[in-house]
């Protein structure tokens, strides 16, 4: 009963993922309502203010959460959001202006690699983040460097490269909004997001 429920959930999830991927592949114009043709700096042709976007539909319930693990230590969640909320992959932290992995970071990555080995079907996005002290622009490649350093280390531990993507958010999404050393230390990180189960 519980097992068939799990399978149903997964099928549903797979269908949703395919549907979402299909949507994402389309190019949608980002200007709401083409304004009347006219020159950019003219008075008579104001650009209509885009209507606020329709709120996205809440994620469809995908069956009940399944509390019973299928197999020991294998993590099963009813949705990616639920899965990521439990943070099975721990973040890695960096020194200022640095993408070096210290001993603590390497220990964390050993543990993450062990989790990933048990879940070869997971696709993982490694997000590189920076604190607010660097410039916005330089932090974009710096965050990417951090994510790449983590990815390279995981690959050296035997995780398939195809399982891991990287993205940099520079200093756009700090985890701690504070402006002190404690906040900055939390914000210089590589953060793991599971994008497919």
């Amino acid at each position: 009963m519980s097992k068939s429920h799990t399978i149903t959930s997964r099928l549903l999830l797979a269908a949703l993922t395919v549907a979402a991927a299909g949507c994402a592949a389309k190019t949608s114009p980002d200007v709401q309502g083409a304004p009347s043709p006219g020159p950019p700096l003219s008075a008579g042709s104001p650009i209509s203010v885009p209507a606020p976007p329709a709120p996205s539909a809440p994620p469809a319930p995908v069956g009940e959460p399944v509390p019973v693990p299928v197999r020991d230590e294998v993590i099963v969640a009813s949705s990616l959001d639920d899965l990521n909320r439990t943070s099975p992959l721990q973040p890695v932290f960096f020194a200022l202006d640095s993408n070096s992995l210290d001993q603590t970071a390497q220990t964390t990555l050993d543990q993450n690699a062990a989790v990933l080995r048990k879940h070869p079907s997971w696709a993982v996005m490694i997000e590189g983040h920076c604190d607010e002290r660097g410039t916005a622009e330089y932090n974009l490649p710096l965050g990417e460097r951090r994510a790449v350093a983590v990815r390279a280390h995981l690959i050296s531990l035997g995780i398939p490269a195809s399982q891991i993507q990287v993205v940099s958010y520079g200093k756009e999404f700090p985890f701690d909004p504070g402006h002190d050393e404690a906040a900055w230390a939390k914000n210089r990180r590589a953060h793991f997001v599971i994008t497919a189960q």
Partner: protein, 464 residues
């Protein structure tokens, strides 16, 4: 194509606000002016220019009293009030005229024609110039007459009539300001230019992520932050917008595909192009001065490098090949060189390179420097962000003398400079009031003005 386009733009603009030169004889009733959108540009009459104001030593002293509403209806009253106030602000911004405070002349009667001007009273204030104007909104058509009078000679130095839609009152003031600067000072004003920037002001949240992250969207506005419009509705992270040289498109970085890619939004057609859809993270587009190519940073070959690509995505060329970070490109006004940031020396510094990848030169010797932005002619300066002590501050290097000057001094963090098209101002991001806001500053570090006030705002770029 650019020339054709400019012609079309001119015709269309004149169609919106018709303007005629008005002579010094105020008795002559104004000739009826065809109402927009009939595109009949009236050439400026040579007799229009009778005087150029000069100040005794400094900038000419100028008074701009409230314009006179010719009727008492609400639309006319509002138009008169708004246009004269915005003109006052526009003229103040460029600092070519010294505008004396309005309360010093509030007792002098308003003049709706040359005959009404109480020149003796204005002379007592020891001013050089007086701007008077009349406004009327009737049957959906706004008519504005503006004159600049030389208070010493009692001659008219500038006189024009504008008619058109009352929809954007501020545009009338911006147009008058630009034309006054052009006629009186041979200066290209920026009152009709635009800014683009990133903002979370609408407070939307990202859809479908685990963290509660805010959406950042692309906006554009007048140079003073008014008339802000939201360009993107992607409900994702959108950053680093930049105006195409013709002002009709904005290229920016969007995470709508999960990883950052560069998109070009043709804002008056409502169409979107994907410049990059290859591997890697792609950021920081910069238009070549002719608008035919873009330079950007990409990790498609495994390392942050600079690439140049045609506007249609074809003919991609790799510009840098160094294992360090190379990012934040900006083109020289001639299009023959590109300045960028590299940390190949150990810390991020500004470099320049020829557009073919040769002739690399290191420009800065800061502890940390980023986001170069190359000024338009006649200046040859590169502004950038530097780490100065505990803060980020703006600096400018003169490329002829290599002299460096600092524009901000630790009032919060100050970064991401972008030149105004006349090379006299910079837009930038500052945390001096708390949250990140867009400000403008003159090239000498003076005249700091706050442009945005709502939400967090970043990555400004000024239209060309």
């Amino acid at each position: 194509m650019t020339r054709m386009f400019r012609l079309a733009l001119l015709v269309a603009l004149v169609g919106v606000i018709d303007l005629v030169a008005i002579g010094a004889d105020p008795q002559q009733p104004p000739t009826p002016v065809s109402q927009s959108p009939t595109p009949t540009p009236t050439p400026q009459q040579p007799t229009d220019i009778t005087t150029t104001l000069t100040g005794a030593g400094g900038a000419p002293q100028m008074a701009v009293p409230a314009f006179v509403p010719l009727t008492r209806d609400e639309a006319t009253l509002a138009a008169a009030r708004t246009i004269s106030q915005v003109l006052f602000d526009d003229l103040t911004f460029e600092r070519e005229f010294a505008l004396i405070p309005r309360d010093t002349y509030s007792s002098i009667p308003a003049a709706s024609s040359l005959d009404d001007v109480v020149f003796d009273r204005w002379r007592e204030l020891n001013i050089d110039g007086l701007v008077i104007g009349t406004v009327q909104v009737a049957e959906g058509v706004l008519t504005l007459e503006v004159r600049l009078l030389n208070v010493r000679t009692r001659q008219q130095a500038f006189g024009r009539r504008y008619t058109g839609s009352p929809a954007d009152l501020r545009l009338y003031a911006h147009t008058v300001s630009d034309e006054l600067h052009q006629q009186q000072r041979a200066l290209r004003g920026v009152a009709r230019t635009k800014l683009t920037f990133v903002s979370d002001r609408d407070g939307d949240r990202l859809a479908g992520t685990i963290e509660n992250r805010g959406v950042k969207e692309i906006y554009f506005s007048d140079y003073d932050g008014e008339n802000a419009r939201r360009l993107t509705v992607g409900r994702t992270l959108n950053i680093t917008p930049t105006w195409s040289p013709d002002g009709r498109s904005i290229a920016y970085t969007s995470y709508r595909r999960g990883v950052p890619n560069i998109f070009i939004s043709n804002i008056y057609q409502g169409t979107l192009e994907e410049l990059t859809k290859d591997a890697g993270n792609n950021f920081l587009p910069a238009w070549s001065p002719d608008g035919k190519r873009l330079c950007f940073m990409s990790t498609r070959d495994g390392n942050p490098e600079l690439y140049v690509v045609n506007r249609d995505g074809s003919n991609i060329l790799r510009l840098t090949t160094h294992p360090s970070i190379d990012e934040a490109p900006t083109w020289s006004p001639s299009g023959t060189q590109i300045a960028f940031t590299s940390d190949r020396s150990g810390s991020p510094q500004i470099y320049i390179v020829d557009a073919d990848g040769l002739g690399l030169q290191k420009i800065t010797l800061e502890s940390y420097a980023d986001r170069p932005t190359w000024s338009p002619p006649p200046y040859n300066e590169i502004a950038y962000t530097a780490r100065a002590g505990r803060s980020l501050d703006l600096k400018v290097v003169n490329m002829a003398t290599r002299e460096v000057r600092q524009l901000t001094f630790g009032e919060g963090d100050n970064e991401s400079p972008a030149w105004a098209p006349n090379g006299r101002h910079l837009a930038f991001v500052s945390t001096r009031t708390g949250r990140k806001q867009i400000f403008t500053v003159a090239g000498d570090g003076k005249n700091v003005r706050q442009v945005t006030r709502s939400g967090n705002n970043s990555y400004p770029d000024w239209s060309k």
